[in-house]
Structure formats: C-alpha cells, structure tokens
C-alpha cells in the first residue's frame, strides 16, 4: 500500500513514535515555518534601517553599524574594521570620506589621522532593535487616531451587534407569531450574499441617510448580521421555556425575561458572536473604504492602505505600521485562542 496514504489515514490512539509520526511532526513544523515565518520576517524587517531595507539579498536580522562618540566631534563616528597591507587589522572610526579615501582615527589615539582606501575597510555591525521606524511612522501616519477609530468602531459595533441580534434571536426562538418564518428565511437567504455585490446601492443608501464620514455609517449597517441571529437563535432554542413561564407568573415583563433570564443563559453563544464581531470589525476594509473619505475617520485598515499608497517606497515605515496594526488582535488571540479555535470549530462560521 502507498506509504503516503498509509500515513495520512492513520488515526489517534497508538503509543509508539514511528515513521508516520515523524512525518506528521515534520509536516507540522514546516507548517509553523510557512504560517509564522512571514510574520517573523515582517517583525524583523520592521526594525531595519532604510539602508538595510534596501539591501539585497536581505539579511535575516536587523543590523546597524556600530558608532562611537569621541571628544571633539559633534556626531557619533562610524566604526570600521580596517585591513592593512601587512595583513593586520584595527578598529578605526571614520571622520570623513573623500572619494575613495577615508580619513580615520583610532579611538584610543584620537589625534592621529589615518588615511585608508575605502576598499580596505568593513563596517563593524551589531544586531539592533531600533524603534526609529515606529516613531517616524506614528508621526506621519496618525496611528493614534486610526487606532482610536478602529477600537471605538469595533467595541460599539460589537455591543450593538450583540444587543440587536440577541433581541431578534429571542423573538424568533421563543415566540410564535405570524411572519416569523418569512423573517427568518429572508435573513438566512441573505446570509451569503456579500456586501461586494451591492456596493453601488449601499453607497447610495449611506449617502441618502447622510452617514458619509460618520462613524454611524460603519457601525450601524453591519450590526444586523444574519449569521449572528442564526447562531444565537439556535442556542436560545435549547433554553427551556419553563423558566420564562415561571417568571411571567411572578409578573416579570417580556423585556425582563429577555434581559435577566435569557441573556445570562446565552452567555456562551454571545461570547462566540462577540469574538467573531471583534474579528470582523477590526479587519473590515471595503465598507469603511467606501463610507469614509476623510483621513480623520479612517480605521487602521483603511489608513494602512492609504499609507501604502502614499509612502510606497518607504517600506521601513509601512512594515512598522503593519506590525502595530496586528499587535492588538494578536494579543487578544494569544489570550483567548482556546475559545476562538473551539468556537469556530463548533459553529463553523467566520
């Protein structure tokens, strides 16, 4: 039998480590390299100086030339390793360069100027994690504004999504009323018809409502997610009706039943929807791109795309800003990864 098939068709539940286990780990490690490698490369690159960024072939780590501060010179001097004709080498600091000749001094004897052909010197370098890309990028990028906009939109849109969807799900799961089936089926039918196919009319609606360059324009329209209603309704169906009847006898209004009985019991489903909503809203691009045209309303994603258009040569800044933009969601994922991965596995939506 084909060993590859044999390997793939193996299942859990054996004890010894054998060849197919070895292949599994090799595949998974390769997977880690391919999945994480680009991120690591992004992070390493974001610390590089513009000179290092432009260097080809690139080096893995961000290097920087060592410098030394000497009395009598305003700026730090660059350090080089100089090889002399007799084969000896010395570490010298460069004072200035004229054509192919460099004027250098020994840091221990700063009075004597040594003239060196530039072909005979090599920069002394060290690995350096410098934040200058980040500082410069934040200055030209309005990172603070975009971060605030994204955070604000993500949080308010998620809260609104949870409220609006759970109310609708409650009505659809716990009551029988004329039109119920129609409402539910219409929502399900539009479950998969994406924003992208109604770009023009949706832009018209936003314009008519007057929500261009208004946060309401990217918070409200996305709040009524059919997926959210579906997910919550399925969960609420499993909550027994007897609890509601008991509360009604005690004189509770339907709103109290929703807010104080159903919502607390639906916490797991609400948590899953909250996680999805945060992921959706944080990464939204097309919708904010259409609604927002003024930079002060840009979210991180739109800002990043605009930044790329504007500074398409300054990769060092773009990379630093990209790292900053993935930082918050990465931290959230690191903390909640178990819930996120099992949540997706059990509900099968994104």
């Amino acid at each position: 039998m084909n060993p590859v098939l044999e390997f793939l068709t193996r299942r859990r539940g054996r004890k010894k480590l054998n060849f197919s286990d070895f292949l599994s780990y090799a595949y998974l490690l390769l997977g880690v390299l391919i999945m994480f490698g680009p991120i690591v490369w992004l992070i390493l690159s974001s610390f590089k100086t513009p000179i290092e960024i432009a260097r080809f072939p690139p080096r893995i780590f961000p290097y920087r030339q060592q410098t030394i501060e000497l009395e009598g010179f305003d700026d730090p001097l660059q350090l080089f390793k100089v090889t002399f004709d007799d084969g000896s080498t010395r570490e010298l600091a460069q004072v200035r360069r004229v054509g192919i000749e460099a004027q250098m001094i020994d840091p221990d004897m700063p009075d004597e100027i040594i003239r060196v052909n530039i072909a005979e010197r090599e920069p002394i370098e060290e690995i350096h994690i410098g934040l200058s890309n980040y500082i410069e990028g934040v200055r030209g990028f309005n990172f603070g504004t975009y971060l605030w906009n994204s955070t604000f939109v993500t949080i308010t849109a998620t809260l609104l999504t949870l409220l609006v969807n759970s109310m609708a799900a409650f009505a659809l799961a716990k009551y029988k009323f004329p039109g119920q089936q129609t409402i539910f089926m219409t929502m399900i039918a539009t479950l998969m018809v994406p924003l992208s196919v109604v770009l023009v009319p949706i832009f018209l609606v936003i314009t008519r409502v007057g929500w261009n360059n208004n946060f309401l324009g990217i918070i409200v329209p996305v709040a009524a997610t059919p997926t959210g209603v579906f997910l919550l309704r399925q969960y609420m169906l499993t909550i027994p009706n007897e609890l509601m009847d008991a509360a009604r006898i005690d004189g509770a209004s339907e709103w109290r039943i929703y807010a104080q009985i159903i919502l607390p019991l639906a916490k797991p489903a609400l948590a899953v929807l909250a996680i999805f909503s945060v992921m959706w809203r944080w990464n939204d691009f097309l919708w904010p791109l259409i609604v927002m045209s003024r930079p002060e309303y840009f979210t991180l994603q739109v800002g990043l795309a605009a930044f790329q258009g504007e500074f398409s040569v300054d990769w060092n800044l773009i990379l630093a800003m990209t790292v900053l933009s993935i930082l918050p969601i990465t931290v959230v994922f690191a903390i909640l990864q178990r819930y996120i991965t099992t949540g997706i596995a059990t509900t099968g939506l994104k």
Partner: protein
Amino acid sequence: MSKNSHNKLFQTIFGSIAHGVISFVDLFLGSIQKLIGIKGVPYLFVLPNLLIFGLFILYPMLLNFVYAFTGGSAFFPDNRPYVGTRNFERLFACENFLVPNSCTEDLFWRAVQNTVVYVIAQVTILVLFALITALILNRKIKWRGFFRSVFFYPCLLSPIVVGLIWQWILQDKGLLNGILIGLGMSRMPFLTAATWARFWVIMVSVWASMGFYTLILLAGLQSIPSDLYEAASIDGASNWKAFSNITMPLLMPTMTVVIVLSLIRAVQVFEIIFAFTGGGPGTATMYLVQFIYNYGFTSPNKQFGVAAAASLLMAAVLIVLTLAQMAARREEVY
C-alpha cells in the same frame, strides 16, 4: 484589598449598573407591552434588527435591480433613464466568449476568466491542504492546541496586512528572491509576470484562510465516534480501509460545507488582491469584485449600470452556491 474582593466590588458595581439600566428600560418597554399586548412583543424585539437589515441589506439588493436596468452616469436613481436590458446586452456583446478582446466589455470577460481559473485552483488547493492538516492534527499529536492556533493565526489578519506582508516577501528585492540567490539561482519576477502573480495570489489566499477550514474539518473528524474505528480494527481493517469506509463517508457532509463555503468566498475575492497585486500586472489578477468596484467607484465616467448588472450576475452564481450550502447543512444536521 485582595484581588478577589476587587473582583467582587467590581461585580457589585457592574451588577447594580446593569440592574439599573434594565429597570429603566423596563419602565419604558413594560408600558409598551401593556399597550400592544404580549402578542405584539416579538415584533418589538425583531424591529431594530429588521430596520437595519431592511435598510442596509434588503433595500440595497432591490436597488441594485434599478441600477442594472437604468443607464447614464447619474448616481441618484431618479435621474437615471430606463434602458431595459441594455447593460446586460453590453456585458454579453461578444464575438467569442473565450477571447475577451472580442467583447465590448473586454475587462469584464477577462475578470470572469481570471475568476473561474482562480476559483477552481484556489478551492482545490485550499481544501486539499486543509484536509491533510486536519487529518494530521487529528492524530495523537503533542501540542495540538499550539499547532491548531498556528495554522489559524493568519485568518486573524486583515486582508490588507496579508497583502502587504506577502508583497514585501515576494517583491523583486524581497526575501524569497534573496533565498533563491542564496541557493545559486536567479531572481524570479514573482509579482511582475502574469503567471507568477496568479500563482501567488492563489497561494497567499490559501495561506490566509486555510486555518479556518482546517478547524471545521478537524471538528468534523473529532465528531466521528471512536468505537467505529475500534470495531473496524477488531475486524482487521487496514488504516486505508477504515479511512475510506468510515472517515470519508462520515466526513462528507463537513467536506461539502467546506467546499461550498470556500467556493462562495473565492468568487468574492477582492480585498487581499487590492493590497497585494492591485489587480496587476496589467489585468492578470483582476477578478470580478474588483471589476465591479473599479466600474462603480474609480473609473472617471462611472458606469453604475454596468457594475450593477455584473454584480447581479455574480449574485445569481452566489445564490446557487448558497442553496447548495443550505442543502449541505441540512444534511449535516439530520
């Protein structure tokens, strides 16, 4: 104060605020309930959702028809003259559908061709890798949670970030070309040659979404009762036999969901491309949604009618796929 009592204090404060809000809303909604009776309550609860849904999802969908059957460059429907099916005729004005240059809207047919090739290749590769990864993760593996998270992590990244990262790696002076040079080979035009760009668009979108489908398939695999395998091994079935007679048939409903979901998303590919290749080189990686976006939003004389007609055609394809998805889900549930 200890951490515990901090938490308690926080809970008390938070709890009483929530309680206050609920009671306050209750004053309002409770009196409405008295007014409309308990039969009207469910309508009250679906109302906010229905308003948003109707205004921002349903209404635009209907408006799309208005755009598709009217012409001119006016943005507001009132100023657009009715043109019947002319926008559709324009899209279908072709001497030979396989040669985009023979069509009036050559860009549309180029986009259709690109999309068809992309969808078939991307979904095949995506499902294949997701299945292999899920099968391996379903074995007795150490650090399964870690590996699962690693494969899922790229799904968290925004399409813009994915596009930027890979553009950085694949550009002319990027990491991959550096590795090629290091191995003694020559540089490749990864983003500037049409075939390479198409290839990388597929690979990058697989990279960015594979983890999601892996998770769904893994959940499907783990829901297969293990006593089935025990019975099979008592009967002396080989691993391959167990796979083809137990795993595959029982995984089929999940597979169908995965295939249809990935098809639906592949047809709509846009955002990753926007940041990654921008549709280039030339029109090599321009797909349908980008065609619609360009016609509606970026071209100098905006052809909303043609864009809307194209999006209706796309919606038709998506609805067929959605119905397939619902049928598959039903199969999965029962």
